[in-house]
């Protein structure tokens, strides 16, 4: 079966049968006196391929036809437009637009090409170019719907830009409010308060709640087991005991890694490290976050206050 030309899945390799080659030579003979006829042949082949949705082959045929450089702008205009259509069907809107524009250049009243160019511009979101093109076109009155649509899109883009700027302004104002609250509390920090480097902290940052309280993302580090806990919302008025009680409940929800079950709120001690001196500063678990943060030795590093927690019998280092 495979060997029969009708059922071949691949084109035959090697040389073409002599007869086929001869026909091909006659059909596409560059030396032919009548270049016009050659170009016409390529064009017809292109159209044939186009009909069977073989757009890539069609494009090749139209290109060869155009390469014949026939001095007939009407003919060339049609070729360019046909190639533009093939490109359009393949989703090559940029090439399609260029061909369509070329077709219009060859012949200003090639309406099909004008429409094709406009459609491509809309696809490529070149709205301003589209409006300018329509307004200078011979078919301006028929292109009004495109002009309106492009103008609408432009308005939408401008609106979106304003909206984005509004959003940026809103965030900035909020951040300034937070920075003011942080400054009032005399809290030290390094780098930005709004971009976290810890992966768990991503998307979480300190915020002001409606009561004007700062709510922080907080990281607990347990060096003994190399474990961490990330608390998304730690109200500055909460004490550390409040949160540790939740972290280490006495029931089945107790973390697995604490095999010895020695992490109980009453048996833990906590400290923070001053990045400037690398010294640890222990403090009472009953303290509120607010009071610890305002400590002159405390520094918030990369937006997340971090604390080290160890059992009472261990040291922090």
């Amino acid at each position: 079966m495979e060997e029969h030309p009708l059922f071949m899945t691949k084109s035959p390799e090697g040389e073409l049968p002599p007869l086929v080659e001869a026909i091909a030579q006659v059909k596409y003979d560059e030396e032919m006196d009548n270049k016009r006829e050659l170009a016409q042949n390529y064009k017809d082949d292109g159209n044939e391929n186009f009909r069977f949705k073989k757009y890539r082959w069609a494009i090749d045929c139209y290109t060869k036809a155009l390469d014949c450089k026939i001095d007939d702008s009407e003919f060339n205009s049609v070729l360019c437009n046909n190639r533009a259509s093939a490109h359009y069907h393949l989703g090559n809107f940029r090439s399609s637009m260029q061909d369509a524009l070329q077709a219009v250049k060859y012949k200003a009243d090639n309406k099909k090409a004008v429409l094709r160019a406009v459609e491509c511009m809309m696809k490529l979101e070149k709205y301003q170019q589209c409006i300018d093109f329509c307004q200078n076109s011979n078919f301006k009155s028929e292109l009004n719907s495109f002009i309106t649509k492009a103008q609408d899109e432009l308005k939408r883009i401008e609106r979106d830009l304003r909206k984005q700027q509004a959003e940026e302004r809103r965030i900035k104002a909020k951040q300034e409010e937070i920075l003011k609250a942080v400054a009032e509390r005399k809290i030290n920090y390094q780098g930005s308060l709004f971009t976290a480097s810890h992966p768990a902290a991503e998307g979480h940052q300190v915020y002001l709640n409606n009561l004007g309280q700062l709510v922080w993302p907080v990281l607990f580090v347990y060096p003994e087991y190399g474990q961490t806990d990330f608390i998304e919302s730690f109200n500055e008025n909460d004490s550390f005991t409040d949160h540790l009680k939740l972290m280490f409940p006495l029931d089945e929800n107790h973390p697995n890694w604490d095999i010895e079950r020695k992490y109980k709120t009453d048996d833990l001690k906590i400290a923070f490290q001053d990045p400037r001196t690398s010294q640890f500063h222990p403090f009472k678990l009953t303290k509120r976050l607010k009071d610890v943060l305002s400590d002159s030795k405390f520094v918030v590093v990369s937006s997340v206050p971090t604390f080290v927690i160890v059992p009472k019998d261990k040291s922090f280092t």
């Binding site: 009004n144 309106t148 609408d152 308005k155 939408r156 401008e158 609106r159 304003r162 909206k163 700027q165 509004a166 302004r169």
Partner: protein, 370 residues
């Protein structure tokens, strides 16, 4: 000219030229009888006098026209030569866009002739003058030509702003409803074009008087309910352009839900967006909206453009009580159910019983005084 008459005439001229506005007006009103003959004399001098006399008489006539516009109009209509003399420089001015450097004398002639014309075209019976200024067969397109000429002239800075202002005033007078009604109904394409240019110039101009004129001309168009279909065509964006100066920083004033009701151009306007500061401009803009309330098409269009939301915020900020009241009028109409208007396809032509008219005015007045 007899010596005694000449003397008194010169006295009158001096009084007219030199007295302050109020004194002059009083003088003209007090000397009704003699003013009539002064007008006649002055008109003659415009034709027969020497250069200085011509300018002086034009100035004088311009001053009188502030009060006695009707008298002058009648006189001009009788005396074709004078009428031509006043009209010619204006026709020449407004129908051309290229003007060589004019000397101050020519500018004065244009200025005072314009003042006279503006004053006398306030009258409804100025039809003849109207026809000399505009090509009756192509009314709107010649209106349009004049407008674009004036815009071009104003861009060159060759003439003082007052002259441009006067031309706009003249156009405003010529757009008075009774004069252009037929044409508006016949020639909608030109109407759309004309309005587009008016809106453009309104947006560009920095002179509040000209801005008021642009909008007032549109008001004159909107009075014709039948023209509203053309004027409110979505392409013209009339409502959006009227609402834009009335809108504040929408970004701050609206939540996302209300924002979605506004045209794209009005959404998320930044905090530094200011409302139109001039009372007269705002008032003219509100007049447009009020007239749009007149037809179904107009009301639908206002509703589609989120007019209510813009007016709601404007109302909060508006310091001028009478404008605020007119905002309320528009909102009153917009917030009513459309069924209530089914009986009144054209609100403007709805007859109001006479005994109620005074009552309505009275009610408005009490509201304003509150």
């Amino acid at each position: 000219m007899a010596e005694s008459k000449k003397l008194s005439f010169e006295t009158i001229m001096t009084v007219l030229m030199e007295k302050s506005d109020d004194e002059r007006k009083k003088f003209i009103e007090d000397h009704q009888a003699s003013i009539k003959s002064v007008i006649k004399l002055v008109c003659r001098l415009i034709i027969t006098g020497d250069k200085t006399e011509k300018i002086n008489s034009l100035t004088c006539l311009a001053k009188i026209s502030e009060v006695e516009d009707n008298l002058i109009l009648t006189n001009l209509l009788e005396d074709t030569a004078v009428y031509e003399a006043i009209l010619k420089p204006i026709v020449n001015f407004i129908h051309n866009r290229d003007h060589p450097e004019a000397d101050s004398e020519q500018v004065d002639v244009i200025k005072y002739s314009l003042i006279i014309l503006v004053n006398i075209t306030r009258q409804k019976n100025c039809v003849k003058i109207f026809h000399s200024l505009l090509d009756t067969n192509k009314l709107l397109s010649s209106f349009h030509t004049i407008l674009s000429n004036v815009v071009m002239i104003s861009a060159t800075d060759k003439f003082e702003p007052l002259i441009i202002e006067l031309v706009f005033n003249l156009l405003l007078n010529l757009s008075q409803p009774s004069l252009i009604l037929d044409e508006i109904q016949k020639n909608q394409d030109n109407l759309a074009l004309l309005m587009k240019d008016l809106l453009n110039f309104f947006e560009k101009s920095t002179c509040t008087k000209i801005r008021v004129c642009c909008i007032s001309i549109i008001v004159n168009f909107l009075i014709h309910g039948s023209a509203q279909t053309t004027l409110l065509d979505s392409k013209s964006e009339l409502i959006t352009k009227i609402l834009y100066p009335l809108a504040g920083p929408t970004e701050v004033e609206f939540d996302d839900e209300d924002m979605a009701q506004l045209p794209l151009d009005l959404q998320y306007l930044p905090p530094d967006k200011e409302r139109e500061a001039d009372n007269n401009v705002r008032d003219a803009l509100i007049s447009c909206l009020l007239l749009c309330c007149n037809t179904r098409k107009g009301r639908d269009s206002l509703k589609d453009h989120g007019t209510y939301y813009i007016l709601r915020e404007l109302h909060k900020q508006e310091k001028d009580r009478s404008i605020q009241k007119r905002v309320e009028d528009v909102v009153d109409i917009l917030t009513k159910e459309e069924e209530e208007y089914n009986q009144f396809p054209d609100l403007m032509s709805t007859a109001i019983p006479e005994h109620l008219i005074g009552k309505f005015d009275e009610m408005d007045q009490t509201l304003l005084n509150e």
